[in-house]
């Protein structure tokens, strides 16, 4: 059975994934729109940076984040100067790391669905007195709804499943940074296989359901991997 500690890690995981997903949608939407529409020479490099976590080992990303957010790193110096302390081994730090780690899983479905919206629809809106911002909310968002759903589901699911980045940046602090994947690792280390089974089973069921929804209900291509 799931222990109270296991339930706590599940709750914490959902909290982190929920907040990270909300942030990713907030950052990812304008970013994906810009990437879809721009002809700027910066497009290539920004696309690369966003997609980097797809191919980078999580421990490498985690390592750099740890260094950057640490007291000697540029981000760490900034957060200390702002009176926020340092981010590693905190809940907030884990959210920041999750956002960077899972961002491509949000940006890419959005980009794909934005790219499917015809220039003509935008022009029609302009001839009907809608400003560009108005057009985005009244035409682009409704038409890209399946993209937003895939993005939210994938971003959330991918954040739930992270392990390497969490270990590097978050450590293993109960109720603060100990997420499900780390808890499973703890159980296995302690040879508590039956507890590990319960949690692992939960994650398996969760991941399966998510993909099933994406493939059957939304009929999208959830693996938004640019290199495959």
């Amino acid at each position: 059975m799931l222990t109270t500690a296991d339930l706590d890690t599940l709750l914490l995981t959902c909290k982190i994934a929920g907040i990270a997903t909300a942030l990713m949608l907030l950052i990812g939407t304008p970013l994906a729109w810009w990437l879809t529409r721009t002809s700027s020479s910066l497009k290539g490099i920004i696309n690369t940076l966003v997609a980097l976590p797809l191919v980078l080992p999580p421990s490498v990303l985690g390592f750099y984040l740890l260094v950057m957010m640490g007291p000697a790193g540029p981000v760490g110096k900034l957060t200390v100067w702002l009176g926020l302390g340092t981010l590693p081994f905190t809940f907030a730090g884990l959210v920041v790391a999750s956002v960077l780690y899972s961002l491509p899983f949000v940006v890419q479905p959005l980009q794909a669905s934005f790219a499917g919206i015809s220039e003509q629809a935008l022009e029609a809106a302009a001839t009907l007195r809608a400003s560009p911002l108005d057009t985005f909310f009244s035409v682009v968002m409704p038409l890209a709804k399946p993209g937003f759903l895939s993005a939210a589901i994938l971003g959330f699911a991918h954040t739930v499943g992270e392990f390497g980045v969490v270990l590097m940046v978050g450590g293993n602090i109960p109720d603060k940074t100990r997420v499900v994947s780390v808890q499973i690792y703890n159980h296995v280390e302690a040879l508590e296989y039956s507890e590990a089974h319960w949690l692992a089973g939960c994650l398996l069921l969760f991941s399966f359901s998510v993909l099933l929804v994406l493939y059957t209900v939304l009929k999208t291509q959830p693996v938004a991997h640019p290199l495959k």
Partner: protein, 361 residues
């Protein structure tokens, strides 16, 4: 000087393989057709007027309001221009019902004209029964009618139409053309209508602008422009002039109707219309022959005195003759041999015999 009833459009843009260079003064009423083949720049010109494309050099003034003046760095974005635009594809918002599509623009307009114009447009285009449908459940013709109503609902100062019939099959075209003709009679705003179809020109245009390679070859009242000898249209096998006339008299015994035009009258096969109904009469150049004296014994009813105003070589041994009949210009395609034998010259008084006519509305 700003004239309240004119459109001034001057644009220059250069895409390397395509240049647009026009300077047009167009009337502020009626339908002005921008006619040309693909690549002639007619759609680009319309898009520049709408602000969907920005010509680096441009001056655009509609009804005394300046929408673009590149010298002053002025460029009104499309959404701030009081226009209506109908695209080649209806371009309805797929996530909104017909009703919500029709209200989309209305909700965004500052001086909301109310729903009077919308109700008029819905009635005119016969789409009242479609209000709750989604666009995907409309036929191509219905979609285009909704798109036209959506543009008209805004009570725009000018209506821009980019080949609104081009994506429809013949049957759908015939379904919409009558609506456009009605629009023509009821609308008090200028319409700029892009097409490559001579049929649509004949049926709708009051003013005709002929574009080629990004330049305006000719621009002016319909029959004047149609009959210009320096424009390839006059050489075309389908070359014709369209006269605007009104029903003057019915000759029921002969199953004929006499229509009056500026400077004369024509006999046509009986038309079922009341006296003084406006009509468009199309006369193909190939149906017009020329005689030096009034033929005394001929089966042709429409023999009219005319003055020759121009002669040019046509294709395949033909001569294209331009004549003035009353106040109307007329084109005749005759053989070059006939032209020589008759000794046709500019200024000569002749008689034109019109073998056939067609009524366009």
């Amino acid at each position: 000087m700003t004239n309240m009833t004119t459109i001034q459009a001057r644009f220059q843009l250069d895409y390397g393989d395509f240049k647009l260079d026009v300077d047009l003064k167009l009337p502020g009423t009626g339908i002005t057709v921008l006619f040309g083949h693909s690549g002639s720049g007619k759609t680009t010109l319309l898009r520049c007027i709408a602000g969907l494309q920005r010509a680096p050099q441009g001056l655009l003034e509609i009804n005394g309001h300046v929408w673009q003046d590149s010298e002053r760095g002025l460029f009104l974005p499309t959404y701030k221009r009081p226009l209506g635009y109908v695209f080649q594809e209806a371009n309805l918002f797929p996530h909104l019902t017909v009703r919500d599509n029709l209200h989309y623009g209305l909700k965004r307009i500052k001086q909301n004209p109310g729903t009077v114009k919308l109700e008029q447009a819905v009635k005119l285009l016969g789409i009242g029964h479609l209000m709750e449908r989604m666009p995907e459940r409309l036929s191509g013709g219905e979609r285009q009618r909704v798109a036209i109503a959506r543009a008209l609902a805004l009570n725009p100062e000018i209506l821009l139409m980019d080949e609104p019939l081009a994506s429809l099959d013949f049957k759908r075209k015939q379904e919409i053309l009558p609506f456009l003709s009605r629009l023509h009679q009821q609308l008090d705003i200028p319409v700029l209508y892009v097409t490559h179809s001579q049929q649509e020109v004949a049926q709708l245009a009051d003013t005709l602008v002929i574009l080629e390679d990004g330049r305006a070859l000719a621009s002016g009242p319909l029959s004047d422009t149609q009959s210009r000898l320096d424009v390839p249209l006059a050489q075309d096998r389908e070359a014709a002039t369209v006269w605007q006339a009104t029903v003057a008299e019915h000759e029921a015994d002969y199953h004929l109707t006499r229509v009056a035009f500026a400077g004369g009258s024509l006999s046509l096969p009986a038309v079922d219309a009341e006296i003084s109904t406006p009509l468009r009469v199309q006369i193909y150049a190939r149906d017009v022959s020329i005689a030096l004296e009034a033929p005394t014994a001929t089966s042709i009813l429409n023999v009219l005195p005319a003055t020759i105003t121009g002669i040019a070589d046509g294709r395949d041994g033909q001569a294209v003759v331009q004549a003035q009949v009353g106040n109307q210009a007329l084109l005749a395609h005759i053989t070059r041999k006939s032209a020589l034998m008759l000794g046709l010259q500019i200024g000569m008084a002749v008689y034109v015999q019109i073998k056939g006519t067609s009524i366009l509305n």
